[in-house]
Amino acid sequence: MDISFVIEKFVLVAIIFGISLVIAMYSTYAERKVAAFLQDRLGPDRAGPFGILQPLADGLKMFMKEEIIPTHANKWLFMVGPGLAMLTACIGTAVIPWGSPITTAAGRIIPLQVTDINVGVLYIFGVVSLSVYGVMIGGWASNNKYSLLSAIRAASQNISYEVAMGLSIIALLLVTNTMSLKEIVEMQHGWHWNVLYQPLGFLLFIICAFAETNRAPFDLPECETELIGGYHTEYSSMKLGFYLFAEYINMFVSSAVMATLYFGGYNYPGMDWVLTQVGPVIAPLIGTAVLFAKIFAFIFFFMWVRWTIPRFRYDQLMHLGWKVLIPIAIANVIVTGIVIAIVEKF
């Protein structure tokens, strides 16, 4: 293994990690601005022009705050919780292809993907499933009844919606025949976006993504009017910051996954023509920009929904997950299978 490969990957990991953190930071700013826009308000506008330094000020505040660990909390687990939430949120980005490989003048091909494992979809699932542990452990270790209720809600919600999410992905895999995210993206070259072949699957997936990221209308684990702060009621300073950050990183990762699986990733119409015009170094970067545009559109959608509709009740959430989404997802798998069988036969 040559050393340039290691450096290349190291740089890529650092860049992706940095970008996810910056996007998470500015998602908090965007959230407040979008909320303000939807609610006829101004939003943060004091720190810097248009308030763009607000996330930095918030971050500084989080670091400077006094850290309180409740006396009866399980101290070790109390600290593991936010760390685990942050870790699982960050490692999800490893398999996302951020752009088509860059071919340098020297003929060297630099893939814009940390690693292309052949079970990329399963990897993302695994990571997403782990993310509930941060919430559960934090909620349990706080030794607070509200946090505990929230942890229970989070656990059952995430487990239930993972089933529907998995089933919606199975239908997608029937179409794509591969679990490698890179190959899935390559298949969607041009206009062959999976959302056109799997509209119902996408709808199920996005609903489940809302539930997996604990965003409204599925924000039961942290619904402030019932459970005060939910699992992070007892948290303060940067531990609280980690939980809030993890939520935004999760949102970013889910958006990236949705864009990759269903909306063609870095593909955009006319990309072949652009490649001939600007050359093999710039063209992939345009693709990356397109991918980020799609991600931001999804993030905006997440926020738009959050600030528009009320949230479900716990039993309604379970009802929707088990009695509505899962049967539809199963039907989707069956119909997709039959259609593919017929198409391949004739």
Binding site: Y146, E226, I309, P310, D315
Partner: protein
């Protein structure tokens, strides 16, 4: 559980239930009161309400204050609609003293009271939305409460604890800016209310959260002596404005909306419809005022209505009246009166016994929040935690009115 001594902690390690202290400071209680709930998972098995955290002994304080100084106490009952409390108190004293106020004063009072009703219902309905998670709808309508406060400011100078009016009328006439602001409000508010309704009334999640939750039968509601929108949501058409008309409400044309099932959705719809009716009442009152002699804003009762300051300084009779009123040398009849107004939450009654002195011998406020809240713990039994919380929001329990 012993209802006199709620158990605040889990004593029994073998117990399958969890004790949860909802309040006294919890984001959903909107005020200081506590519910000690026994939870089985998310389901409430039993609950005990603890009230009295902000009890200020107003009824006792009132026994030591002359009538006109009791108005500021009524401000602090239901502080979301103080003007209704103020007007109710003024009318009670007027009933005691047999004062008839000019029609124009009645109409001005109706404008103020209906504005207060709108602001009260804005709070309740937007809080239901907020507690179900729809923050944006909350903010859309909430800014109109701000506009109503600006109108109060123009009329009396205060915003929250208004102390509007005096016994016998108002302390001053409404100025042109006040009328302009009222007209502006009447133009802009229906648009916002329509938008608010379009976001929630047919919203599947909102209906699922509220419809069929916390149903109350008319019998239960009457057993617990409920009144106001909560009672009307169960289907009983009792409105003090219609059944015991006061303040010339009988001259007005308005409808009393009633619900069918008494659930949270019905309460929400009843309150929304009442806001529409209040808008129409204000419009009618503004129309009627045009036909009344301008500039009349109080009854001609020099014994009870403080004269203007320039009169006091330049006119002997006025000085005498001023002295007599302030020093409490006015004779009030020995009598027992009860007067009720339709407050934001229901029948707001003032039961006043006077033994001829300058202060009430005994004064009792019939506070609708206090009476409505008595069913809360029992209603919560068997509910999910989330339901219990929006049930509390939909009952619009105001801590000031609950504890007095």
């Amino acid at each position: 559980m012993n209802h006199n001594q709620p158990v605040y902690t889990d004593n029994d390690p073998q117990s399958e239930l969890v004790t949860l202290n909802l309040g006294p400071t919890h984001p959903a209680t909107h005020g200081v009161f506590q519910n000690v709930l026994q939870l089985d998972g998310e389901r409430i098995v039993s609950g005990v309400s603890t009230i009295g955290y902000i009890h200020r002994a107003f009824e006792k304080i009132a026994e030591h204050r002359p009538f006109y100084q009791i108005t500021p106490l009524t401000d602090r009952l239901n502080y979301c609609s103080s003007p209704i409390n103020n007007m109710g108190w003024h009318m009670t004293v007027e009933k005691l003293l047999n004062i008839t106020v000019p029609k124009r004063v009645d109409y001005l009072r109706i404008i103020v009271m209906e504005l207060a009703r709108i602001s009260d219902h804005i709070i309740c309905n937007t809080i239901i939305a907020q507690d179900t998670g729809a923050t944006t709808t909350f903010l859309y309508l909430f800014q109109f409460r701000e506009h109503i406060y600006e109108i109060y400011e123009e009329i009396c100078g205060a915003r929250l604890t208004t102390n509007i009016g005096r016994i016998g009328g108002f302390e001053r006439d409404f100025n042109d800016i006040a009328f302009a602001k009222i007209n502006k409000f009447l133009k802009e508010f229906p648009v916002a209310l329509r938008e608010f309704e379009s976001l929630l009334n047919r919203n599947r999640i909102f209906i699922d959260r509220t419809a069929g939750v916390a149903c109350v039968t008319p019998e239960q509601a009457l057993d617990y002596s409920w009144s106001g929108p909560l009672l009307r949501a169960t289907g009983v058409d009792y409105d003090v404005r219609v059944s015991e008309p006061y303040c010339s409400y009988d001259e007005f044309d308005f409808e009393v909306p009633v619900g069918t099932s008494g659930d949270i959705y019905d309460r929400y719809l009843v309150r929304n419809e009442e806001m529409w009716q209040s808008v129409s009442l204000i419009e009618q009152a503004l129309e009627k005022i045009k036909h009344e002699p301008a500039g009349v804003f109080h009854a001609d009762v020099p014994d009870f209505y403080l004269p203007a300051k320039e009169e006091v300084y330049n006119n002997m009779e006025a000085l005498i009246y001023h002295f007599k009123i302030v020093m409490g040398e006015i004779d009030a009849p020995k009598a027992e009166v009860y007067h009720a107004v339709e407050g934001g939450n229901g029948e707001l009654g003032f039961y006043l016994i006077n033994d001829g002195g300058r202060t009430p011998y005994r004064l009792h406020f019939r506070r609708p929040s206090f009476i409505n809240y008595s069913m809360y713990a029992k209603m919560s039994e068997g509910m999910l935690l989330s339901d219990a919380i929006i049930n509390m929001s939909s009952m619009n329990i105001i801590a000031g009115e609950l504890d007095a």
